[in-house]
Symmetry: C2
Subunit: 339 residues, 2 copies
DNA sequence: GCACGCATTGGCAGCGCTGCCAAATAGGTT
DNA sequence: AACCTATTTGGCAGCGCTGCCAATGCGTGC
């Protein structure tokens, strides 16, 4: 009388196999297979019989078996640092849009910005024998690099081109992005420039931007007035607190460069709360064109990167068997009202 | 002399199989298999030899073959409307955190809030014979429902409990969330209340919140003063524009309920830009505890839901083989400074 | 010394599908 | 009618692994 012990009531699952379909359609297995994959030749009469039989039985092809039997898989392993960061969300969206139009499927893993986690993910995704990998950035652990190279899978590394790639690389120069930001501030006449950043050990691309930024300042004969780096992931709160500490410590700042728009937004809110006029009292410069930052009372001055396109291009090159290459998609400086 | 015609130079990929490992370790295949899965019994001597052989050869078990040979797969199909929405990103993060500690792997699909896309995804994920599915909400197309039921997979539907679930349901009542929001505004003395919402045909949970909101107003003897529903996905811009239209059309509003925090933030920025004092001139109420909205000069009054926990609980129940059940995780009204 | 139980091991038949090849059929041609 | 080619079809061996079962070895108790 007890039937509530393990899961809901459900009809015992009886899988329908290709041979069931073949029998139902009164054809051989391989014929049924050819029809269902629409490959090779078969008569119209056969086609309709097999299709009808498959329909009638509710046949769902088993990709596991299919992949095992054929040589290459139709899986793409995707490894990103985070879902929450809009950058990766959009890259994923772009990649997915492309993969949706093919018969590739993506298997996704999230590293939380930890390289050892990336390594774990690569090795466990490898167990599915993916045809390709999509990764963020160019920096991977030696073990991960070795595994990737040995896997025979194609690899697309996205969002950064400052360094050596393994195969396909799609992105832009983070160092150049940092330099462009510094040059903008300098051209606008700012001289006492600070930096508020996050966790540069983890976010290596942010570190590259900072390097480029500092370098361009030096080229202009300036140096960073002060910096405040919080040891946590980027967030609005971290930006707010970081700027607060910077302002409390150092006077005379006329502009601040933030490691990204989340941080910059926090800074902007702090200015609003403290009654500082932006950009007269303090100019703010962000990075990455966060949607929200375009609609604040004063749109944020920032640098926008074509994240969606990066995902699209990466995925397309990967599945189309294009040769190894580096694609620089560039970036765009957005002149808002804050710098 | 041409070797740059198809992808990077790479050693021809020679996969290492279990039988290679077995031969190298001078044991039988099944013994090697038992050691590598740490299952069944074997001597310490055998263990170390097999491990060493696997290590030496760089063996990566083939999950495709393993899954085919054993009965059940270790895959979980996850289908969410969007990556960009922080809600789903956090649910995913929670689910992934749990799955990472098991040997389940997730295969993710994104519907873009389109039910027909959900159906396509369910059917193509089914080809991987997943052990479980994680879905957003309770509303699915009839075909998708049929497929899911017939698949034999466990199913977790997240983020909503207003309706009938298929198996495991983890979330909260969106209608109750709407009611709680209305009661708060009424208790605070607001009487001329408006609504600014997005694409309710697509976002069915937002529609449920609106229903609950309107219902609670009615119970208090009030009715909605006016509403503005934009026919697009939620965004800061949509909230800003929506509120602008509402204000330009209707005077005397004292509070506005937004379909979520993105929208509300847009509304807040509009008030800042127009010099409206919040909440004196206009009170604002959001939904979903967007991180950013806690750090605006005035924190947004909103309703927070435990998204991470929802993902965690859903995944945990799914993989632990728990019986079908509904888990109400509730929500929390966050009294900010805007209502 | 022999039977018994337990731990350990290897052989082998599939899992459901695809790829290869040979067989069967169809459609002309002389 | 015999012959040839092109199309269509079915049989069957794997893909790499797991699950089952039988075989082996070893320590115990009588």
């Amino acid at each position: 009388m007890t039937d509530d012990d393990a899961g809901p009531n459900r009809i015992p699952f009886v899988p329908v196999t290709l041979s069931d379909v073949a029998r139902e359609a009164r054809v051989g297995e391989s014929t049924a297979s050819r029809v269902l994959r629409n490959q090779g030749s078969f008569s119209e009469r056969t086609r309709s019989r097999v299709k009808a039989a498959a329909e009638r039985l509710g046949y769902v092809p088993n990709r596991i078996a299919g992949t095992l039997a054929s040589t290459g898989s139709r899986l793409i392993g995707i490894v990103v640092p985070s879902f929450a960061n809009i950058v990766f969300a959009e890259v994923l969206r772009g990649a997915n849009a492309v993969l949706d139009d093919t018969d590739f499927q993506s298997v996704i893993g999230v590293t939380d910005y930890r390289q050892e986690q990336e390594e774990r993910l690569v090795s466990s995704l490898l167990a599915w024998r993916p045809a390709g990998f999509i990764l963020a950035g160019l920096e991977h652990s030696p073990a991960a690099t070795t595994m990737l190279k040995a896997s025979g899978a194609r690899i697309a590394e996205l969002l950064d081109i400052d360094g050596a790639g393994l195969d396909i690389v799609v992105g832009f120069s983070n160092e150049a992005a940092g330099r462009a930001s510094a040059r903008h501030l300098v051209a606008r006449g700012y001289r006492r420039i600070g930096y508020v950043g996050h966790d540069l050990d983890r976010d290596l691309r942010a570190a590259k931007r900072f390097r480029g930024f500092a370098q361009a300042l030096a080229e202009a004969g300036l140096s960073l007035h002060d910096r405040e780096v919080v040891g946590q992931p980027s967030s609005v709160e971290a930006g707010k607190d970081g700027l607060a500490r910077l302002l409390d410590r150092r006077s005379g700042l006329d502009a601040v460069y933030f490691s990204n728009d989340d941080m910059a937004l926090g800074g902007y809110f702090l200015c609003l709360a403290r009654g500082l006029a932006v950009p007269r009292d303090l100019a703010l410069f962000g990075y990455n064109g966060l949607d929200i930052a375009r609609h604040t009372p004063q749109p944020l001055t920032t640098l926008r990167t074509p994240r969606l396109r990066i995902g699209e291009i990466g995925a397309r090159l990967l599945v189309s068997g294009a040769p190894a290459q580096v694609v620089d998609v560039g970036f765009e400086l957005v002149e808002g009202a804050t710098a």
